[in-house]
Symmetry: C2
Subunit: 354 residues, 2 copies
Amino acid sequence: MAIGPLDLELGGRLDEVTVAYQTWGELNEAGDNAAIVLHALTGDSQAGGDGGWWEPMIGPGRPLDTDRLFVICANILGGCQGTTGPASLDPLTGRPYGMRFPLITIGDIVAAQRALVERLGVTRLIAIGGSIGGFQALEWATRHPDLVGAVVPVAATGALDPQGIAMNEIGRRAIMADPNWRGGEYLSEGVFPADGLAIARMVGMVTYHSKESMELRFGRNPAVRPSLYPSFGATFDVEGYLHYHGAGLVRRFDANSYLYLTRAMDQYDVARDGGEAYWLGQIAAPVLLVGIRSDWLFPPDAIQRLHRRLQALGKGATYVEIDSPHGHDAFLKEWGQLATLLTPFLRDQTGARA
Amino acid sequence: MAIGPLDLELGGRLDEVTVAYQTWGELNEAGDNAAIVLHALTGDSQAGGDGGWWEPMIGPGRPLDTDRLFVICANILGGCQGTTGPASLDPLTGRPYGMRFPLITIGDIVAAQRALVERLGVTRLIAIGGSIGGFQALEWATRHPDLVGAVVPVAATGALDPQGIAMNEIGRRAIMADPNWRGGEYLSEGVFPADGLAIARMVGMVTYHSKESMELRFGRNPAVRPSLYPSFGATFDVEGYLHYHGAGLVRRFDANSYLYLTRAMDQYDVARDGGEAYWLGQIAAPVLLVGIRSDWLFPPDAIQRLHRRLQALGKGATYVEIDSPHGHDAFLKEWGQLATLLTPFLRDQTGARA
């Protein structure tokens, strides 16, 4: 959907913004039975349905119950799965934006989502998502409390810590050091920084797993598939896994999107421009914070600190934890626990309007 | 010192091996008052003396007391600070080995050290080192028990876990994806894979720090120096720190050495060729295992497991822990705690021969 121009948080403006989205279920007359599912760094709008990345969470009788809810998922601004991003054609030049794309923020991503849902007739929504989807959920709750009926940030705090920023910067360096990046002009020049983006993805995969999950899944087992890249000596299963996921992202994701979205991830701070107490104080909706025992990108203790600050401000906030060895990515794996933890909260928030 | 040819653990042979080393203190008549300090991945033989990387640990009255001990530190095989490695000239071709350098192991590194210390007249030594220096210490204790009087592996277990292997592989990929790597022939071709090695170093630095130390030191503070690399948007202090350390390693380290030594690190397994119980059973010396509270490369619980296995085998093993937020690198920073923890053990092992 074309949502028109968008003025950006850090200055600059996009004159024509398109948002790719999908929906499941029906919006009611009042427009107040909506839920927006907020995707993570390399996700897309296909949250539900066959092959959807959150398919077990969305559908009739599922936690996001489409018998009662109108569920929306939109590819985020700056992404590359249908929504305007660095790989889109700049209307001024007719060529992909590349690095002429303006700096965007999580605030801008959510502003584009707001423009979308208003055009769809939504008057109230549940905001739910993991990782930078959790950032978006917090952004919805603090900057758009008029529309938010309930908020569920999963595996996220109010800002990325320096270790997370470091990992993102390593990925960016790998992309920008790739000679095929060409200052971001690779699409116009018919090449692609595949090596760089694959390395960035490998860094990401390490942060999405945990030490425990890697030990359980790979241990020190030898590689079971031939190396996709130059290698030497005996190689390990975990290396083949990283190579496979690196190559997989190259097939489906734009390298400049990776740069812009990781930078937006780094920059996000729920406390910006006013302080944490002020912004958390704006939240009008009940909050369900979900941590993951083995997550080292957004560890449980950091999410628990956010929970205590919300409680100290008198907010209705609950903390629950997924007991999983799978690290950050457990919110894309632990369907049973997610259903158990999310269903009562989501039912409470939607029951009156079902 | 030229130590002659070396037959290698994985096959192959180096016909002419040179080992660069430094010593502090005097070897006694019996040759039994030696200590060998075993350096980590990118270290060198300058452990003691002005600017030495373990200078506060080595000297008169210090934990490695040169009034009583003859302290040796040798650049490791495969390194690039004077000992034979991939940047050395291959006597067959007169050009740097590059990737024609044979695969080496921690076992080979220690075999070269043994050849060195035997030529120096050492009959008994304390083996002490951190990180892959700790691997070397374990290798000394299990494969050369006839020479080892005491062993102190610091911040090390008997093998790297898959998360550690993953981080090493990301660094190797970055080096090998650099177009200036040229299949390892960069020295012959007058170029250097600076971008790739810098990225590998950045990955390493994240593993040497802890989440806690990065939070304490950098938080989300803005960058205080201009970015060394292409960047965009506001950057953070932690990014500048990584860039600085990336560039720093490029000035002093060979990229192929980084490949070979990280591969040797991955491959190390104290249990190889016979099993853990057999090899730990070979240890004849008292063992002091040193963990670091905030180390996530070799976490305390993994070192404690090694400690329990040694105890179950009836070995004289003690576990102590450095209480530090600084992560893996605390063994290069926490001088006061190191002195307190190491001094009694080292004095006990050397007192009779002082």
